[in-house]
């Protein structure tokens, strides 16, 4: 076998140009597929982490209070049981955020836009200043009660400048119409489609507009020391909370994928009845579980590309090895005459193909790693419209080792299939027939 392997390697080096061309084709295909796999690998984590920053937490707690008339109010009036459960869970909490929010229509001089406004306690949420870069205006102006920060795109649609007074039409937690007046304190860099999630005002004023009292709020966000702690910490906090407050059952993913666990949680709320306040706990992963579907779609795309590229490459390999067989027909005859069996000839061809595939695949993966390193050095900035897909403004990649090994095995298998026919024909040649055939 070792001799056959040596002959296979020697045969590859005899036709350097041909081997390099075939290897390059394999390497190119592997590189493309590896890049897609690497992007998909980091996509989920990047999106989740960036959303965690936007939503100010990895784990969220919100309350639904049932009024005497049956109306449900989204409010947390007393969070002592919640904070106690968080503390008792030992979760690695970096900081806790307390926010209220509404969706309303911003109106300025005949122009209007519907958007979400988050009320944040900016004295507590100091990290927001570091993360949200302002293009115009300043954070200092946010000390004014009715101050507002809008993203660049929304500010442009309303045609507002820093200092302008903007009306907002919205509803209180009980559903009554209300009107507020904001003063634009700052304009943040555009965040693409997520610009509508980046309007910030003071918690106290948002509470006033919503009809909530000072100290009350709607959602508690727990920012952990990394996304990886999310699920365990959520389970621990949920277990602790179930002993002290009423809780909605945590959302479970629909089997057919029609709804996210978060949607399932909200649906449950509509079906059930309760008295007093019932809390819901959800994680960033549950809110973004559809991101996993995008990752699966990317991986499927990569697999399809892998197959399509290799069907094309396989045709090339089959043709090349057919030519090789005819070129070496005399050599095959000599080897057969010297006692090499049919299986030996077949193995020689197959080994040659496997070496070619492995070489091409390894080079492809190495090229992909180099490309990933170079691409990830480019700083697109935190103001990039695609920032949600990036890690601190850089495109990042993560290639799961098993996926890389899987790709190599698939390529090796496909190459073996491609060479099986010429190798079989070569093996079937009798020594006399082979020696008689002239090229």
């Amino acid at each position: 076998m070792k001799t056959l392997a040596n002959i296979a390697l020697r045969n590859l080096s005899r036709q350097k140009r041909r081997s390099i061309l075939l290897g390059s084709a394999i390497a190119f295909g592997v590189m493309i597929v590896t890049l897609i796999n690497g992007f998909a690998g980091a996509f989920s984590e990047n999106v989740s982490e960036n959303f965690s920053n936007l939503m100010a937490g990895h784990i969220f707690l919100s309350g639904s209070e049932k009024e005497a008339g049956g109306k449900e109010l989204s409010v947390i009036r007393d969070d002592s049981a919640l904070t106690a459960a968080v503390k008792a869970s030992g979760a690695p909490v970096k900081y806790i955020t307390r926010r209220s929010a509404f969706t309303g229509t911003l109106i300025f001089e005949g122009k209007k836009i519907r958007t979400n406004v988050d009320g944040a306690d900016l004295e507590q949420e100091t990290f927001l200043r570091e993360r949200l870069l302002l293009k115009k205006g300043s954070w200092d102006a946010m000390t004014e009660a009715g101050a507002l920060i809008l993203s660049e795109k929304i500010a442009a649609k309303l045609n507002v400048e820093v200092g302008d007074r903007i009306l907002v039409q919205m509803q209180t937690v009980t559903g009554q119409n209300n009107v507020g007046e904001f003063t634009l304190a700052g304009i943040s860099y555009d965040a693409g489609i997520f610009g509508q999630m980046m309007s910030y005002a003071n918690l106290a004023y948002v509470n006033e507009l919503l009809g909530l009292k000072p100290g009350e709020y709607q959602t508690m966000g727990l920012m952990l020391d990394g996304l990886k702690h999310t699920e365990k910490s959520a389970s621990d906090i949920y277990a602790g909370l179930s002993e002290s407050v009423q809780l909605f059952t945590r959302g479970e993913k629909d089997e057919n994928g029609a709804q996210t666990p978060f949607q399932a949680l909200l649906k449950q709320q509509k079906k059930e009845s309760w008295e007093g306040v019932r809390y819901r706990l959800f994680t960033i992963n549950e809110v973004l579980s559809q991101v996993q579907q995008i990752v699966a779609a990317l991986d499927t795309t990569a697999a399809v590309i892998l197959v399509v590229l290799f069907v094309i490459i396989m045709v090339g390999i089959t043709n090349t090895f057919r030519m090789v067989m005819f070129e070496r027909i005399g050599e095959i005859g000599t080897m057969r005459a010297l006692g090499v069996q049919r299986g030996g000839v077949r193995s020689m061809f197959l080994l040659e193909a496997v070496f070619l595939a492995l070489g091409g695949a390894v080079v492809g993966i190495l090229l992909a790693l180099v490309a990933m390193s170079i691409i990830s050095l480019i700083n697109f900035g935190m103001n990039s419209p695609a920032f949600i897909l990036m890690k601190n403004g850089h495109l990042s990649f993560y290639l799961p080792p098993l996926k890389a090994i899987g790709n190599i095995l698939v390529i090796a298998a496909l190459t073996l299939v491609a060479v099986a026919s010429p190798a079989g024909k070569a093996a079937k040649l009798t020594p006399a027939e082979a020696l008689r055939t002239s090229k």
């Binding site: 109106i107 509803q171 009980t174 009554q176 119409n177 009107v179 009809g211």
Partner: protein, 251 residues
């Protein structure tokens, strides 16, 4: 002479106080009468409302809805006739639940009585029975003029948070109980919309506004004019107030 003057002034003052007191006592009666005029309990009500909405820089849009009401059971069905693109959409109310039906997806979704009709300034709640006495308390009342017409100006504050507007100011004609103007205020006290009722029709001895002009006070230039036609108090089949009806009319 001075004595006569004093007596006259005192007399006028006493008469004004008495009149004001009498008016104050009359306010609940006026509101009860307004409630009665808009209440079709004991019979069904149907009409077609045509809503013309004006927005600056945009072409006027026309919406038309057919409304079926059964106030006894707090039911209504509202069927969109125009614009053509939304034809077949509908709202169904039973007690406090309101569903919206979309014929494209053939699905019902939860909606609200506070939702605007199509893209107009009119809300579902504008077309259904309201009980002002139940929903609001009188916090002020005075006499005034609306153009050349003498009116009672009644200031109302919401008793519950179930209503769309926290404060409502009504201008009611003095010589016969007709609501001529209504101003709706936000929780923060800002005037949000003004509704004018320039035309009335008489249906079975009760006056109903046949033309309503709703002015959006937050968005200058935005207004909707609602005209009521084909009004009827004839009995309606029960199936009109079912989900199946909305599905059926789209087949």
């Amino acid at each position: 002479m001075k004595h006569i003057l004093r007596v006259a002034v005192l007399g006028i003052a006493l008469a004004s106080i008495a009149a004001t007191g009498a008016f104050a006592q009359d306010v609940p009666r006026i509101i009860a009468e307004l409630d009665r005029l808009g209440d079709f309990s004991g019979s069904d009500f149907a009409a077609i409302y045509t809503i013309v909405s004006q927005k600056p820089g945009e072409k006027d849009s026309v919406s038309q809805v057919r409304m079926f009401r059964r106030d006894d059971k707090k039911q209504f069905t509202l069927l969109v006739i125009l614009p053509e693109v939304n034809k077949g959409q509908g709202y169904l109310r039973e007690d406090d639940n309101v569903w919206f039906y979309d014929p494209t997806s053939r699905k019902f979704s939860f909606s609200s009585i506070k939702e605007n009709i199509q893209n107009s300034e009119a809300k579902n709640s504008d077309l259904v029975r309201k009980s002002i006495l139940e929903d609001y308390q009188v916090v002020g009342s005075k006499e005034g003029m609306l153009g050349k017409i003498a009116v009672w100006i009644i200031d109302l504050k919401a008793r519950t948070n179930d209503v769309s507007y926290e404060r409502v100011v009504m201008h009611v004609r003095k010589d016969k109980t007709m609501l001529l103007k209504e101003e709706d205020f936000s929780v923060s006290g800002r005037l949000m919309r003004t509704t004018l009722f320039p035309k009335y029709v008489e249906i079975s001895g009760r006056l109903m506004p046949s033309q309503i002009l709703i002015i959006d006070e937050l968005n200058p230039g935005e207004r909707s004019q609602m005209t009521m036609t084909e009004q009827s108090l004839a009995g309606l089949p029960d199936k009109v107030f079912t989900k199946a009806f909305l599905e059926q009319v789209n087949k």
